[in-house]
């Protein structure tokens, strides 16, 4: 053992030879994040340039510049500006925000629950949002408010549903004990119970009002169709607060991954920290579902992908997840709106599931191989 260690110390790649410890590592992380960020910028430009309305790259750029108040030659006509800015750019922004929010929420849920399969569905947050929206549709509240010029009613119903579901899960899981003493197993169980119950309630609503079925189904499937800057405006404050809470507590997520006892040994009020993180993640997921419907797989897959790239440390994992999630969802939405002829659209949730499902299987297979190798050691 000692000889082995010596051999390792002598080998050139061990330790880090030059300069300050961990510096090389930090550089690599910054580079990776910068690469992702530039990919995001490039993607935004590209995604604003494709769709069923014919546009040239030059027109797209001019329209975007014009919207930003910069003039690049002759002004573009109103149709084109509306398509590029009001429809495509708004969708790209919304898809990016939603992808980032879902991924950060997924990373937080996975960290808090120490469960690699956790996401917004696990704790009933998505189910709550879907139920809230279904109630909004069935009761006619959303429709009436929309007629009065207020498209925010439906998203607000969904967000309220998401937070109510979280509260219900916490109440159930605490089973009379203090909120700070929640056990993660109980949390996951309560989440699954609430999720299942809510999906049954949604089915009930659907069968009570067959005429609303298509509205509810459309909404639940998740899509950016018909969304615009008003939805961006609605979602960003919640997402900002949610992301703020989660990013601020990134190091706490690292500690929580050690388990409650060790986290507390290192000085973390584990119970309180978990509640805050769950709240922040639920705001993120709830706001996402509120403006885009239920989009699966992003929150589940993206954190795993980010972990593969940059390791599990949450101060890198969270920004990487946000950027990757934004990229993934923007591209999924581009696929969703261009893959069918004549401008017909697929629900983006279908695209993410079709892309994410097989990808997740690959990831699982790889992890099993790694785990097998790990078990063979030491």
């Amino acid at each position: 053992m000692a000889a082995e260690a010596k051999a390792r110390a002598a080998s050139p790649e061990s330790g880090n030879g030059e300069g300050k410890p961990g510096k090389r590592n930090v550089c690599a992380v910054v580079l990776a994040l910068a690469a992702l960020a530039s990919a995001l910028l490039f993607t935004t430009l590209l995604a604003c340039g494709v769709g069923s309305y014919p546009t040239t790259p030059g027109q797209t750029l001019r329209a975007l510049a014009q919207a930003a108040g910069v003039s690049l030659g002759a002004p573009v006509d109103a149709d084109l500006a509306a398509v590029v800015v009001d429809i495509r750019l708004a969708r790209v922004l919304l898809a990016g925000m939603t992808g980032a929010a879902l991924s950060v929420a997924g990373a937080a849920f996975q960290g808090v629950l120490r469960n690699p399969l956790a996401d917004a569905f696990t704790l009933g947050v998505s189910g709550g949002a879907a139920f809230g929206a279904s109630m909004g549709i069935i009761s006619g509240v959303a429709g009436a408010a929309a007629l009065a010029g207020d498209v925010r009613a439906l998203p607000v119903c969904a967000l309220a549903g998401a937070l109510a579901a979280l509260a219900l899960v916490l109440l159930l899981a605490r089973a009379g004990g203090p909120l700070s003493g929640l056990r993660r197993e109980t949390l996951v169980l309560a989440g699954i119970v609430v999720s299942t119950f809510l999906s049954a309630l949604i089915s009930l609503l659907k069968s009570l009002d067959e005429e609303s079925v298509s509205s509810i189904v459309f909404w639940i499937m998740g899509s950016f169709q018909g969304r615009g800057f008003e939805h961006v405006a609605l979602a960003w404050p919640y997402m900002l607060v949610g992301a703020g809470i989660v990013f601020w507590r990134a190091r706490e997520l690292d500690l929580l991954s050690l388990g409650e006892t060790q986290a507390r040994m290192l000085g973390l009020e584990a119970g309180r920290s978990r509640l805050w993180l769950l709240f922040g993640a639920s705001l993120l997921a709830g706001a996402s579902v509120a403006v885009s419907g239920v989009i699966g797989f992003v929150g589940l897959v993206v954190p795993h992908l980010a972990r593969l790239m940059l390791g599990a440390g949450h101060r890198r994992l969270l920004p990487a997840s946000a950027l990757l999630g934004a990229l993934l969802l923007i591209w999924s939405d581009v696929l969703a709106r261009t893959v069918l002829p004549r401008g017909a659209e697929l629900p983006v949730g279908v695209v993410t599931a079709l892309v994410g499902g097989p990808f997740f299987c690959l990831l699982l297979a790889r992890n099993f191989r790694l785990a097998g190798r790990g078990a063979g050691r030491g």
């Binding site: 769709g51 109103a78 509306a82 010029g149 067959e210 509205s215 459309f218 899509s223 018909g226 004549r342």
Partner: protein, 248 residues
């Protein structure tokens, strides 16, 4: 003698007992009425299962498909035969054909046939494709359905596609499929289409337009008045029940 939950027109059938919904008719309720004949519209797979159950129990079921005027006429005639009122059916078809021919003759004088977009459902946008009765209604009314080469009753379209199609008239149906559609002037992203700029956007009744029947001819006549007011004498224009003007 009985109806489905959603059948409420004409008004006199509203008193009839309900045997379930059009998607899930209740076999027990149907059998309990001991019917001599059950009529069903084709098209819904889940709704055809109860039909098989009825047939197995010896109840004659006639399934019809009427998605064009031609199909509609033949359905009316065949129902006439099945219910022993052949004469009335013939007369009804003759009358409908005559009115449509008169409308076509009037529309032949139109200087220009406007491009019409017919919204079936929103925000999960569905438009009338070029294979259903709505497409024919638009044609008889002197317009052109701008959603072309989309075979079938419905076509999925995106907002961007609507802008590309640049419809001159935007018709929004209101009814079970489209319960709370927003008027066109409350949809900022569609403000650039010609219909929005000229204010040629109207709500219409889904039951009148999208369900083939005697009222389909009424729908064609009503739409013709909206598309070509110049071809109707002023008195007739005033007499026509004005459908909801978009906006305000």
């Amino acid at each position: 003698m009985a109806r489905t939950d959603a059948d409420t027109s004409p008004a006199r059938i509203a008193r009839l007992p309900v045997i379930g919904t059009h998607m899930r008719p209740n076999v027990e309720a149907v059998l309990a009425r001991k019917p001599d004949l059950v009529l069903q519209m084709a098209g819904r797979k889940e709704a055809s299962l109860p039909v098989e159950a009825l047939r197995r129990r010896g109840v004659p079921v006639a399934v019809f498909r009427a998605e064009t005027f031609a199909e509609l006429f033949s359905v009316i005639q065949r129902v006439g035969v099945l219910t022993g009122s052949e004469k009335r059916a013939e007369a009804m078809v003759r009358d409908m054909k005559k009115r449509l021919a008169a409308l076509d003759a009037r529309m032949a004088k139109a200087a220009k046939r406007p491009r019409v977009f017919y919204e079936v459902r929103s925000p999960d946008m569905l438009a009338a494709g070029d294979g259903g009765i709505v497409d024919e209604i638009v044609r008889h009314a002197g317009g052109v359905n701008c959603v072309a080469d989309a075979p079938g009753k419905f076509a999925r379209v995106s907002e961007e596609e609507i802008i590309r199609l640049a419809p001159e008239v935007y018709i929004i149906q209101r009814g079970p499929m489209n319960q709370t559609p927003l008027p066109l002037d409350k949809r900022p992203r569609l403000a650039v289409i010609p219909a929005a700029r000229t204010g040629r956007a109207w709500f219409v009744d889904e039951k009148k337009y999208a369900r083939p029947g005697r009222q389909s001819v009424d729908a064609a006549e009503e739409l013709a008045r909206l598309l070509h007011p110049e071809l109707f004498p002023a008195t007739a224009r005033a007499a026509a029940a004005a459908p909801n003007k978009d906006g305000k």
